[in-house]
Symmetry: C2
Subunit: 349 residues, 2 copies
Amino acid sequence: MIPAEVPERRYAILAEGWFTNRHAKTAHGLIRYGKDEVVAVIDSTLAGRSVLDVMPELERDAPIVGSLEEAPSPTSVLVGLAPAGGRLPEEWMQTLRQAADAGLEIVSGLHQRFAPEFPGGKVWDVREPPRDLPLFSGEGFGVQPKVALTVGTDSAIGKMTATLEIERAAREAGVRSEFVATGQTGIIIAGWGVCVDAVVADFIAGASEQLVLEAADRGADLILVEGQGSLGHPAYSGVTLGLLHGSCPDCLILCVAPQDEEVFAGVPRPAVARAARLYEEVASLVKPAPVVAVSANTRGLDDAGAREFMAAVADETGLPAADPFRGSSGPILEAVLEAPKTRPTRAQP
Amino acid sequence: MIPAEVPERRYAILAEGWFTNRHAKTAHGLIRYGKDEVVAVIDSTLAGRSVLDVMPELERDAPIVGSLEEAPSPTSVLVGLAPAGGRLPEEWMQTLRQAADAGLEIVSGLHQRFAPEFPGGKVWDVREPPRDLPLFSGEGFGVQPKVALTVGTDSAIGKMTATLEIERAAREAGVRSEFVATGQTGIIIAGWGVCVDAVVADFIAGASEQLVLEAADRGADLILVEGQGSLGHPAYSGVTLGLLHGSCPDCLILCVAPQDEEVFAGVPRPAVARAARLYEEVASLVKPAPVVAVSANTRGLDDAGAREFMAAVADETGLPAADPFRGSSGPILEAVLEAPKTRPTRAQP
């Protein structure tokens, strides 16, 4: 689950021509939330400037350089964005070959696997699932730390970032917490994890359970699991439910957004209160996990609009609502800390 | 999706020492429900007897012989049961090598893959998913035939057999119907299908949708999809939900059994009415699919007990209940035929 070849990474981020592209969210996530050092971003179109100069919201600075040679002693090169059409352009592959020849690790969250391209090199294909994953065993039912999982009314609604912000707030409050990454960007940020949508279907729950057991072994008192997909997304709901049951959460944080978008053509986002109730009901077939707070992604609203939306959501659900990107994760963290541990359904009093 | 190497199979079933074992359900299913011919069962401990002599409930006869040489011109050898511990014993592998040398096809539903063992031979590893499965596209929303899916209060509760019996009843009633196989035994019976629990998690719904599109291409007016797992089974619920959304059913048949068993240690079977309501609610996040009938597996009950159980279930749910293994699939088929086609949630009036 944890690639051990490079214990302390120093990243050069390969971002030639696209560093400020919004699809470069793995690069941005690594800079803002990553535990590892970022020694440089490689993008010759911005060479000489700095990360905070170009994207102040990333909160951590690094030089932007024109080539790999100019990056100050990296251990690892991140490939964070696939161009439309799939395979990397030959120019990027040249940089990666140069990195491999220099003994650097290549880290990729793309669907394309790089290990076969660089035989003998250090390659971390983040989406590649571990071998010999077990089926769900039930061991997760007995885990000691409290487990909270983010779920959503849609996919791509900000579950990963909400989880990271709440985990950061927990650490700042002195709670021994652990972020459990279940997708490629989260894994690169955390340095460990499993892409639960990349495992064989029979093992979604088993992989999710193993992640929680691993987080418990790391000494956490509070485990915050990054959710995936949505219970009502026809393409990804299987992954969502396998993660919901497999990670054995004690409580849920429901991630919502104000836009009345469709989850999928013909399929609307469910109402917030209905989504909360359904997540709870489906979870409680196995183990109760009440929704204790709503994380509202209010990007695009002004302050007044955001306040209004959060008040409406709180009113609809009777739950605390906050936007961890705007202001504070406090009310959400408080609700999570107050939630009790739960036991499997049969064992309920 | 359909291995084309052997268009009309004539099976020899390799069952040395275990033909009457209850775990040999792939062999039994192929004999009772299979579209392909079965020319012999190989089990030297029963040689000279016949299938109906030993297991009359299988409804189709074939000679039991002591060795592959005695089987009358098979095209294919089925390996239907894995011994405890995993790999096949050397004695069985010898028979398979002999079959491969004779140009016969080896058909296996085991987790172990046989293609690498017999390079150049004809091998159908039934659990091996097709390459290049697409993500869910929504094309299934527009499929013309009616689609019914079996779901259950538990895994291993008889969904496959119920689906096969209802499909047989439909054919006997003159309905152009197609059984959609989603697990290894069903696939060997039908001669095509995909093990939806063996695909990469992201593709559960896409694989399920492709199966329904394929069944529609085959000219069916009624598509009966074999369900997998259970919404409340912590190990398999992801596969269950991916199949529920991906196959775009218009209605559901809920499979139940009288035993008050646990789904998983600590996790009870849900009450029948609650399970029905939850399946409907989760389906309707994407596309409504009402539960229109209950298929009761009353094995182990006497006739009076079975009638009593079916009456209780019908009373609890307000739905027709029948045991397709005992008496008739008629009430279930009737309810399915009466159910309307449905459209995705946004498109509802």
